[in-house]
């Protein structure tokens, strides 16, 4: 009784084993609940598409990730089939297409935000000139101008990348600007008393100091970047993971949708993790500050 009360109190400090069990619990519970409902539906209708069983999903994964696009069509054909006729492995093609858009979009967005944030943070004239406008732009809901983006940039790659850039770069500029303004004035004065010129202050003092925070920010902005990527691919695309999801939706093909969603989640998790590890490795002083 006492131990139970202890467990639910704010004083409880779980051991590593308990922590792992507690962390796994919600995953196991939701998987279990899903499986229960799925098998109930399948007992009534073996072809149920709404809550596919793991076997159905595995079949879809096999078809999507390990077979070429037209492999089924040529099954059993006697003549040799050329690679072109067989088509691509769609999973690979979609993943690469989505990642390319995401990485290009986020990189351009982050670098331009760094430049603008830096100029606003360093030069008073640029702050007065740029900040109100950037603030205005950052409040415009990016999805509301999606039609404009499609009209201006067409429906090809450019439009999708632009949506990511427009959706993240203005907010990022403002955030970087804030980070730069949070650098104590004393640091700049100190650098000046050491004989630094403006260029050296930016290059040797400001940029190295904001670099880890900048990467951290980029890491956080990957989430909205995904959001805009998915929106763009859903509306106008010939490939990409989100395109595939929305295509599968037409056939109510949940067995394909669920694995792709899990795959996107996994990619997001890995990118997040790699950036974190990189920051820790590259900027030991940042970790030493305990931030």
């Amino acid at each position: 009784m006492k131990r139970i009360r202890e467990f639910f109190s704010i004083h409880y400090s779980p051991s590593t084993a308990v922590k792992i069990v507690l962390a796994l619990l919600p995953f196991l519970i939701s998987a279990g609940v899903y499986y229960k409902f799925a098998s109930e539906r399948h007992a009534i209708n073996p072809d149920d598409k709404l809550l596919p069983l793991p076997g159905q999903m595995l079949d879809e994964i096999k078809r999507y990730a390990f077979q070429r696009e037209n492999e089924e069509l040529f099954k059993g054909s006697e003549e040799p089939v050329s690679k072109e006729d067989l088509g691509d492995i769609l999973f690979l093609k979609d993943t690469l297409a989505s990642l390319k858009r995401l990485v290009i979009g986020t990189s351009i967005s982050a670098i331009s935000a760094l430049l603008v944030g830096l100029l606003m943070g360093m030069f008073p004239w640029f702050r007065s000139f740029g900040r109100p406008f950037v603030t205005f732009l950052s409040i415009v809901p990016p999805l509301s101008i999606l039609p404009i983006i499609f009209i201006v940039f067409g429906v090809e790659e450019m439009a999708k990348i632009m949506l990511i850039i427009i959706g993240t770069s203005f907010l990022m500029s403002r955030d970087i600007n804030l980070v730069i303004e949070a650098i104590p004035r004393e640091q700049i004065v100190k650098a000046l008393t050491l004989g630094a010129n403006s260029f050296q202050i930016i290059w040797k003092i400001i940029i190295p100091q904001i670099m880890p925070r900048f990467l951290e920010m980029t890491r956080i902005y990957l989430s909205p970047a995904w959001l805009f990527l998915i929106a763009a691919e859903a509306i106008a695309s010939q490939d990409g993971l989100a395109y595939r999801i929305f295509l599968a939706r037409r056939y109510m093909n949940m067995a394909q949708i669920i694995p792709i969603v899990l795959w996107i989640t996994f990619i997001g998790f890995i990118m997040n993790y790699l950036l974190k590890v990189f920051i820790r490795w590259r900027y030991p002083w940042y970790m030493a500050e305990g931030k």
Binding site: V189, K190, T193, L194, A196, A288
Partner: protein, 301 residues
């Protein structure tokens, strides 16, 4: 319009009629101050009286509203390598190791070619200063890995390597524990004797000011001007200026009766709101001190 108190070769720092106003608030009313080369000036004053403001003016970080401010024979414009500065916090660059922090000044002031050709000279110089402040084995650590006292030692080395005309220190020991503080006081005195540099040291600790300084300056807003004997809000001016001598001091000095009396005297002059003096009677006893007053301020009109 300058008076004839200024002596170019002698006075490394010179202020006359310096006034600083923020909006409608007069912070510094009329600072007159001449500091000779090699002096260890400590500045005290009630909190909020404008000590940091005066320091910012000397640094060139802000401009005085009126008056003359001269460093090493030239009017002050922006912060540059003629003044070194050590703050209570933020003196060090968190992303650089101790060695890189100390090496920064000599690197900044060389063009890329000389930086390359003389990199060994710069390295040896930096190590010499790190050695001088006793942190040789910590040279490759980041500031966050050092104690508060060690960080301030690095900050001093970082400023000293530039050999500034004046080393400005803004409550540098304010965040240290008493033991470290005493240790760093001794260290600074030793360094001052060795290098004979000019130091301008702001503190709110009277004992520290009296112990360290060869000259003590108190600024305060509590004084009377002219015929007006009513207390009212004013900007600060120098109200105490004492010659403490350049003799060798030991921690035992702090225990003497004389020292105690000096503390009481300055506290009475400078930190007691109820007690104010007429400007003509202020204890400005240092040989370099001067005050520029017009007839009205003297109370003759």
């Amino acid at each position: 319009m300058m008076s004839d108190h200024y002596q170019q070769g002698k006075h490394v720092l010179y202020a006359e009629n310096v006034i600083k106003v923020y909006g409608a608030k007069i912070v510094l009313a009329d600072i007159d101050l001449a500091v000779s080369r090699g002096e260890f000036v400590t500045m005290v004053g009630p909190s909020g009286c404008g000590k940091s403001t005066l320091l910012r003016l000397i640094l060139g970080q802000e401009q005085q509203s009126s008056g003359t401010l001269i460093i090493d024979g030239e009017a002050i414009e922006h912060p540059d390598e003629r003044r070194g500065v050590v703050y209570q916090k933020y003196s060090l660059f968190p992303h650089l190791t101790v060695f890189d922090n100390v090496r920064l000044g000599p690197q900044f002031t060389r063009n890329p070619w000389r930086r390359f050709v003389e990199r060994k000279i710069v390295r040896d110089e930096a190590m010499k200063f790190i050695d001088k402040v006793g942190l040789t084995e910590h040279a490759s650590k980041f500031p966050a890995q050092l104690s508060g006292g060690q960080q301030q030692r690095v900050a001093i080395a970082q400023a000293l390597i530039m050999r500034p005309a004046v080393l400005l220190m803004d409550e540098p020991y304010g965040a240290l524990d008493p033991f470290t503080r005493e240790e760093l006081q001794e260290f600074l005195l030793q360094l001052w004797e060795e290098t004979k540099m000019t130091i301008f040291f702001v503190t709110h600790d009277l004992e520290e000011a009296l112990y360290l300084g060869s000259r003590l300056i108190g600024i305060s807003q509590f004084y009377f001007e002219g015929k007006d004997m009513k207390a009212r809000a004013r900007g600060a001016r120098v109200v105490v200026d004492l010659d403490l001598g350049r003799g060798r001091k030991t921690p035992a000095t702090k225990a003497t009766r004389e020292f105690g009396e000096s503390v009481r005297f300055v506290r009475h002059e400078c930190f007691t709101p109820g007690i104010s003096m007429r400007v003509i009677d202020l204890p400005l006893r240092h040989p370099d001190s001067f005050i520029t007053l017009d007839a009205e301020q003297r109370g003759e009109k």
